[in-house]
């Protein structure tokens, strides 16, 4: 037997644990046998009721500092150094740690323990925020206990007009658990103020937006895509035009985090869709300083500037998803950012052939921005399942549909030149004899599948007039 009184013993238990109840006679035996034993109880300062009492750890501070995962846990220390620990009830383990033979002979030899209260969902981060090292670099904004944090956020101009979730340290810690990347990693300089955008700042804004930690990979990818110079975020947020970032998410993560690509896909009701898009807008507002009426000079804006994010329907293996068509690898996750605004409805319940449907859809597509504007705004075309069925029945896939839409939206210049059809607006009269495409061939139409299963509909999400500068302003796809 070791010289047990050179050692200190620490036992951590909770009443709401059958194994802790089971080991009470053993703890009582230890209390009589060893001089230094501390017993902490997580939920009842009167448990176990044995001579010498227990230490109340309902704050869970000691359980947190001791790193308790399971109760009961028995720890042996010498000086300030931990020598060994065991958890649950295991006679040989407890005998080994204590050096005392014959412990709990009336008990079964083994019984697993229960989870520590300090590791229950949401608890660990609260304890970390209260007792641990968190290392956040963002400054604290302090206010009175009587103030409402939600109103404080409004007063400081942090919100988009809707209430936010207060960014407390425990919530930020939980959000950061959604990524393996370091909180102080910089994603880039966020316009318009070109301030450093760290992962910590993104996490704070994700908390405010109401996001869950598992959305963080998508949120970070969206932020990185927005900061890609090809996206020209500064331009889209200071434009007079309607547009703002629209996020399309592809890959297995869309299913993992419960994103919506089906019914009401552009509407309300899905937390992931709503809060991922909102986070990007809050980051632009708070980190970049892009606020309406200041640098954001939109004449009308659009409701999607609160949030506009959705997943593509990838349930048909024969369909090539958007991100794959844009060069991402099979099985990868990706976000594609488009400079978009409101949804234009296209409802054709008559067409029964792929060619008819593409021709019909093109009549709507050529109206984007202005019927006579060409090679200007890019668009998202979202095909519903019922319209997709028409294409598929004729053996059409992505490339066939794209080819047809580009073909049918290419029109005679004579119809588009200034003055044609009595309308002053139009293109250069020199193009009167040419056939003029409506959209850039490489990225002018972002074709996706989405929407509910019933309804012969297609949605067009129009784009920013800045798209006329095709080499400077493009949709951006970011694989992650």
């Amino acid at each position: 037997m070791m010289a047990i009184n050179e050692y200190c013993f620490i036992a951590v238990v909770k009443r709401d644990c059958p194994t802790c109840e089971l080991v009470v006679p053993v703890l009582e035996q230890l209390r009589h046998t060893v001089t230094n034993i501390k017993i902490y109880c997580q939920d009842d300062p009167d448990f176990p009721s044995i001579p010498g009492g227990v230490i109340d750890d309902r704050t869970l501070e000691n359980s947190f500092r001791l790193g308790i995962d399971i109760v009961p846990t028995l720890i042996v220390t010498k000086g300030k150094r931990e020598i060994d620990r065991t958890h649950g009830w295991n006679r040989s383990g407890w005998e080994h740690i204590t050096g005392i033979k014959g412990l709990g002979l009336a008990l079964p030899p083994n019984q697993p323990g229960c989870g520590s209260k300090s590791t229950e969902p949401g608890v660990h981060e609260k304890l970390q925020a209260k007792y641990g090292e968190i290392g956040f670099e963002s400054r604290k904004i302090e206010f009175s206990e009587w103030d409402d944090p939600v109103e404080q956020a409004y007063d400081r101009g942090w919100t988009d007009g809707l209430p936010i979730v207060p960014p407390t340290d425990d919530r930020i810690l939980r959000m950061l658990a959604g990524t393996n990347r370091s909180p102080n990693e910089t994603l880039g300089l966020m316009p318009p103020d070109f301030k450093e955008c760290t992962i910590e700042k993104v996490a704070i804004n994700a908390v405010m937006a109401g996001a869950r930690p598992e959305y963080m990979p998508v949120i970070l990818a969206s932020t990185e895509a927005a900061l890609n110079p090809k996206f020209t975020l500064h331009g889209v947020l200071c434009t007079l035009f309607f547009s703002g970032p629209v996020i399309i998410v592809n890959g297995p993560i869309t299913k993992s985090i419960g994103m919506n690509w089906g019914h009401n896909v552009f509407g309300q009701g899905n937390r992931a869709n709503a809060t991922i898009g909102r986070t990007l807008q809050l980051v632009v507002r708070n980190v970049g300083g892009g606020r309406p009426g200041e640098i954001d000079r939109a004449v009308f804006g659009n409701p999607g500037k609160y949030t506009f994010c959705f997943a593509e329907d990838e349930t048909d293996p024969e369909w090539e998803p958007l991100h794959i068509s844009r060069g991402c690898t099979a099985g990868s996750n990706a976000v594609t950012l488009h400079h978009g605004h409101g949804t234009q409805a296209f409802a054709d319940d008559t067409a029964r052939s792929a060619d008819q449907l593409a021709k019909s859809l093109s009549m709507s597509l050529v109206n984007e921005l202005h019927p006579k504007k060409v090679q200007c705004a890019n668009v998202i075309v979202a095909i519903s399942p019922e319209h997709y069925k028409i294409y598929k029945n004729d053996g059409w896939g992505r490339k066939d549909i794209e080819d047809a839409l580009h073909h049918y939206t290419t029109r005679p210049g004579s119809d588009l030149i200034k003055g044609a059809h009595g309308i002053d607006a139009g293109i250069d009269p020199k193009l009167a004899e040419e056939m003029v495409p409506k959209f850039w061939r490489d990225h002018g139409i972002l074709l996706i599948r989405a929407g509910g299963t019933a309804g012969l509909q297609t949605a067009i999400i129009g784009g920013w007039g800045g798209g006329r500068n095709r080499n400077e302003i493009q949709p951006v796809t970011h694989q992650f």
Partner: protein, 94 residues
Amino acid sequence: MHKTQFLRDPTSEASTTLRKPTCFPENIEKRTIALLDIAKERSDEFLDHIESKFTEKGIKVRRYRKASNSKNADLLTIQSIVREADIVVESLAD
């Protein structure tokens, strides 16, 4: 103030943590000024004096009064001021 709550700053921290006061107006000639009596003793005397000074200069003035100096103005009073006036002068002391 006993500070017991804090949030982390979501901004780029380019400005002070305190809320910025609204700037003083550059001119008041074409504005309507609300004179708010907080219902403390002799507030009205002070505001009467201020009103006469503004009126001499041809500046439009409207008078408002809180029910009690110990409570916030009621919502209808606040909304009336927002709707009808551009600038508020509040009498704070007796």
